[in-house]
């Protein structure tokens, strides 16, 4: 007796029994493919947002809270169903003066953030190529997000951020992604899908 008889070669299966098992295995695998399809259709479903004035067209995840009236950005979407830090996608535009380069803008941003954000630290600055082939600059950083209300007794959260800066039509476009450091790697796929489905 074998412990496993995977191919049923030692058994005396009748034709009906053999086809019954084939059908069952096929049915199980077919349902699993449907499950993957269901997951993709719901989990990765997106909504389009177009801003003609700013010249952007983006697809952000369904169910995320969109904000287009904030100060300092023209588009922001947050996953409000998250417990803890709300994963954020954000686009802002910065007017460029003559002689200003991407590195100057990122340094200026870092100076500004180091005053506002607790324990702000830059992890890396490196060249980046956007999905459409345009060159850009990528900056990764971390900071600690703390709830301003002390009575909530919340533990501070380490947040990892990613800025992608590209210069188009005489203005800098800053695409920002912010997520809890513990889920950052998993959430980065959302940002990559967002980036590849956007036009600037």
């Amino acid at each position: 007796m074998r412990f496993f008889d995977l191919l049923g070669q030692e058994s005396d299966l009748s034709r009906n029994q053999r086809w019954g098992h084939y059908l069952t295995v096929f049915f199980g695998l077919f349902c699993f493919v449907i499950a993957i399809n269901l997951r993709d259709n719901i989990l990765y479903a997106t909504v389009e947002y177009v801003n003609v004035e700013a010249g952007i067209r983006v697809n952000y995840p369904v169910g995320w809270l969109i904000d287009i009236n904030g100060q300092g950005y023209i588009f922001r979407a947050r996953d409000v169903s998250r417990i803890g830090y709300k994963t954020t996608l954000q686009i802002s535009t910065i007017p460029l003066a003559v002689g200003i380069e991407a590195r100057n803008i990122l340094d200026d941003l870092s100076l500004f953030r180091s005053l506002r954000l607790s324990n702000y630290k830059i992890l890396s600055i490196q060249p980046y190529t956007l999905p459409d082939g345009e060159s850009a600059t990528l900056m990764e950083y971390v900071f600690v997000s703390d709830d301003p209300n002390p009575f909530l007794e919340a533990v501070p959260i380490v947040v990892t951020g990613r800025d992608i800066l590209t210069i188009r039509r005489g203005q800098a476009i800053l695409i920002t992604f912010l997520a809890d450091s513990q889920t950052y790697d998993a959430d980065l796929t959302i940002f990559n899908r967002f980036l590849s489905s956007s036009d600037f």
Binding site: H21, C31, F32
Partner: protein
Amino acid sequence: MTISNPTWLTPPTEEEDRPIYRPVWRSIILQYGILLGFTAVLFVLANYLRLRLPPSPLINLGIVFLPLGLWIWFSFRVEQLYLYPRRQLFSIVIISALVAQAVGVPLVEDFLQVENWLSLAPAIDRIVGYTFTVGIVQEFLKYLIVRFMTWQDHLRERADCIAYAEAAALGYALVVSLRFALTGTPTPDVVAAHVFATVVVHLVAGIVVSYGLSESKFAESIFLLPASLALAALVTGIAIPIRAGLVNASLSPAALEFALPRPLFGIGFSATLLFAGLWGISFLYRVAQRRDRESRAAQEV
């Protein structure tokens, strides 16, 4: 004339007076009846008599292993008293638990990410979603385990399918319950209700598949096996969202005014599923066994 190679008749022994196979329904009713009683007692103690046991990993572990303990006492131990015990039972419990931990749970939680997209979906979407994800993954894996570990030599009568399906259900449910009990510090009455619900869903769905397996083995049916897998997945897909909907508090004023603690609905639902499911499947088994007897009688005539 000399006699060579005489044929000896074996005298009857006490062994042959013993029943051949252990009946399974009685021990199943006994085990899960006791489990239901235990869950109900903990619930009454915690919610009506205010004797809430403190959250303790040790107590929670004891509750998680209670279904397995009951099975060892009422099924596995008794099995050895019969002339032809089912020898693969314990192997199936262990393999089922290992497969759940290594394949089933990572597939559902990490790959399909069910909690990220199904927990907030509308009711019908949740039933369909849980059927195609959790239901299919769990029941298909348990089917594969029972099929490949028992088909060749260990399915001698229809009740063998039930016994092995129960063992697979217990092994798989053990892993799911352990993950719940060891995440955070839930109180024992909550763990007991969750363990009961998990074990019941796995048992009922597993026995549905066992019926399809027995029909394939003993009646050589083609379609009942995949149909039973579909039905078992649907049972799981219906049970998970309905129980969650009953247990979780609603924000409507009417629900807040309702006097009964909501876990009671969950326990009641699981108990109904258990007894209705077992009754329905035992009816199908009785019909199949009667059909087998009639078929044998017709052949003898």
